[in-house]
């Protein structure tokens, strides 16, 4: 029986914030330049050393925009991104090499994120050469070492991505991100294009690598049940804002925000034990509003079952509940 990998829920030693996002905003102008799509609209997040933070949200919630802004593919409209105390809120082209080395990303679709014209050896060798981590003699050994880290044999060296299945391609993408031994890895829905039987293998590999190398993960996903098994803390996003942040266990025992309750009770599960863990059925209703015309007050008030008068006018602040939980909802502000 193969071993099950589980994330250790207690972080050893003193937690250290290695990555901080402060009031991050990213707006995109619409085609006629009259309005803005407020993809990310004031987000604060903290990621500690050797921690897995799950960022969960539905389509249009801005979770991928956060990933791309952190990677420097977009310049933030306002706000700051701090990595190990250093301000990196700029485009990737303006960032120093050592920051790029320590910050890596794995994209959702491995068939488009790997160059179809390069062999696996070339794909994995590139980051090693760019960051001068190996000379031309030692490079093949290093690449084989990377392949072994993701449990692939050296037979893959001279294959092309098209000869690989989706799961193996994603493992190659992970190996490429590992090449520079990053401290922070951003995983943008790395398994949502894969079948569950393949996803299981990838997730177990990611958990093993995280505990072996002590990396931090910013794991972006729409799958809450996956986060239950993987993340130390989860942050739930809705329409460009974080609505709730909590340690995984506490979060799944008692979700506080009405949106997270709706989200959790909408998940289809496969056993009665899990049915019992879901919050009381909150009937999902309404559509996700357009991020161009964000509702006034609390963004969720158009779909909320517990809506009050104040929700339509005032935007709730993030409040602290207990030691490490945050929620932004008027029900909890008093």
């Amino acid at each position: 029986m193969p071993r099950l990998y589980r994330v250790q829920l207690e972080v050893k030693g003193l937690p250290e914030d290695i990555f901080v996002i402060e009031q991050l905003k990213k707006y995109f102008a619409t085609d006629d330049k009259t309005k803005y799509v407020k993809a990310v609209d004031g987000v604060d997040l903290v990621l500690r050393k050797a921690e897995v933070l799950g960022v969960v949200g539905e389509s249009g919630s801005g979770k991928s925009t956060i990933a791309y802004t952190v990677m420097g593919m977009y310049e933030p409209t306002s706000g700051r991104i701090l990595f190990k105390g250093r301000d990196i809120s700029s485009r990737a082209t303006k960032r120093p090499m050592e920051v790029k080395k320590e910050l890596q990303i794995v994209f959702q679709d491995p068939s488009t994120s790997l160059n179809p014209q390069r062999t696996i050896a070339q794909i994995l060798g590139l980051p090693l050469r760019v960051h001068k981590l190996a000379d031309s003699k030692g490079i093949t050994d290093k690449v084989v070492e990377l392949l072994n880290m993701v449990e692939l044999s050296e037979d893959y060296l001279y294959k092309y991505p098209r000869a690989l299945g989706g799961g193996e391609r994603q493992l190659i993408a992970i190996a490429r991100a590992l090449a520079t031994r990053p401290d922070l890895m951003i995983l943008d829905e790395p398994t949502s294009a894969l079948d569950v039987s393949v996803q299981a293998k990838i997730i177990n590999t990611l958990i093993r690598l995280q505990s072996e190398l002590g990396m931090s993960y910013l794991f972006i996903t729409h799958d809450l049940s996956l986060m239950r098994n993987l993340a130390h803390r989860v942050a739930i996003m809705y329409l460009g804002k974080v609505v709730e942040v909590a340690p995984t266990q506490e979060f799944f025992e008692a979700p506080l925000h009405p949106y997270t309750q709706m989200l959790l009770s909408s998940i289809p599960v496969v056993s009665e034990v899990e049915d019992a863990l879901k919050p009381e059925k909150v009937i999902a209703r309404g559509e996700i509003p357009s991020p161009v015309d964000v509702p006034s007050g609390c963004r969720f008030h158009t779909r909320c079952t517990l809506v009050m008068d104040v929700c339509c006018q005032e935007e709730p602040d993030m409040v602290r509940i207990g030691s490490d939980r945050f929620v932004s909802c008027h029900l909890h502000t008093k």
Partner: protein, 327 residues
């Protein structure tokens, strides 16, 4: 037992490609009774959609039917000719596709597309010439209203691009259910939707199917969705049915090694960690394994699995499994 509505018997379908023939479906047997909700579960490329397309008679041109029979209400739909299959499509069954954006025609309004469905069905043929247009519009609005779409009068004048993904899928559902049918085939109806929208759409399909006393085939890759929606489940792997059983037995006592592996791989809310998945890949359809198609990936394989193909053995009432271990 209720009477049999749809019976797929030993269906073999291949696809002609440049290099030869892909032997995809390999003896599918599937039965749907009147008023029953059946789930078909399987991963990418296992032939779920091919099976459903064969039932509707909408296979692509490269497909070759190499054997088998599909009977719907006692009539063989593969030999009934163009007129026969048209009647099946307009009055017998309807289908909801995975991608509502591709299923709707972008250059016609929602109202026009709904009107076409009604016009060519038995309902439309029975309408008096005079007043037909008003009757059709009224029925369209009623159908949209049933799917909880806000402001149906406005929506019938909209083009698909003016609606959101969830709304488009609701329009597809109203097109599928606007006239009375016996069978609804929903092919991954919620795969492109967010969970909170998925929940709404699934509950809607279930409610409407039950209200109208229809049968349902729900094709999905999500075990959770199948559990929520169906009375009985067929598990498919590489063009074979590997397990067929009532829903509670599939989840309570899965017998086929593939079903077990699949269930282990699903991330659970209990946080117990994720199973190790199923090593390997789906077989190459040019040269599928001679015996059990799961043989190369199976942890429990026996010597005979390599060259002999297991049949569906009944282990328990209504629980069938295609595996020599349960012979």
């Amino acid at each position: 037992m209720a009477e049999v509505l749809l019976n797929i018997d030993d269906l073999h379908i291949g696809y002609r490609v440049y290099k030869g023939t892909l032997k995809v479906l390999d003896g599918i047997r599937l039965v749907v009774h009147t008023g029953e909700k059946v789930g078909v579960v399987g991963e990418t490329g296992c032939g779920k959609t091919t099976t459903m397309r064969a039932v509707m008679g909408i296979l692509p041109r490269q497909a070759i039917i190499k054997g088998g029979r599909i009977t719907f209400k006692g009539k063989d739909v593969m030999v009934c000719g163009p007129q026969g299959i048209r009647t099946v499509r307009t009055d017998g069954m309807s289908m909801i596709f995975q991608d509502p954006t591709a299923a709707l025609n972008p250059v016609f309004t929602v109202g026009e597309q709904l009107a076409d469905v009604i016009k060519y069905s038995h309902v439309g043929r029975g309408l008096e010439r005079r007043g037909a247009q008003q009757a059709i519009t009224a029925m369209s609005i009623e159908a949209l209203k049933q799917t909880a779409l806000p402001d149906p009068q406005r929506i019938i004048t909209n083009y698909p691009f003016q609606l959101s993904g969830g709304m488009r899928q609701r329009v597809c559902i109203s097109m599928a259910l606007v006239t009375a049918r016996d069978l609804l085939i929903a092919d991954e109806p919620t795969t492109n939707l967010d969970v909170t929208i998925q929940d709404q759409v699934l509950r809607l399909i279930k409610q409407l199917v039950e209200e109208k006393g229809m049968s349902l085939i729900l094709v999905t890759h999500s075990l959770g969705v199948a559990r929520m929606m169906s009375d009985r489940i067929y598990v498919m792997y590489a063009g074979n049915i590997v397990e067929a059983a009532p829903t509670e037995k599939v989840f309570g006592n899965p017998l086929h090694p593939y079903t077990q592996g699949l269930l282990r791989s699903v991330p659970k809310l209990t946080g117990e960690g994720i199973g190790f998945g199923i090593p390997g890949r789906i077989p190459d359809y040019f040269n599928p394994p001679a015996g059990c198609r799961f043989y190369p990936r199976c942890d429990f394989r026996l010597p005979e699995c390599e060259n002999e193909k297991p049949e569906l053995y009944e282990t328990d009432e209504g629980h069938y499994v295609a595996c020599f271990i349960h012979r």
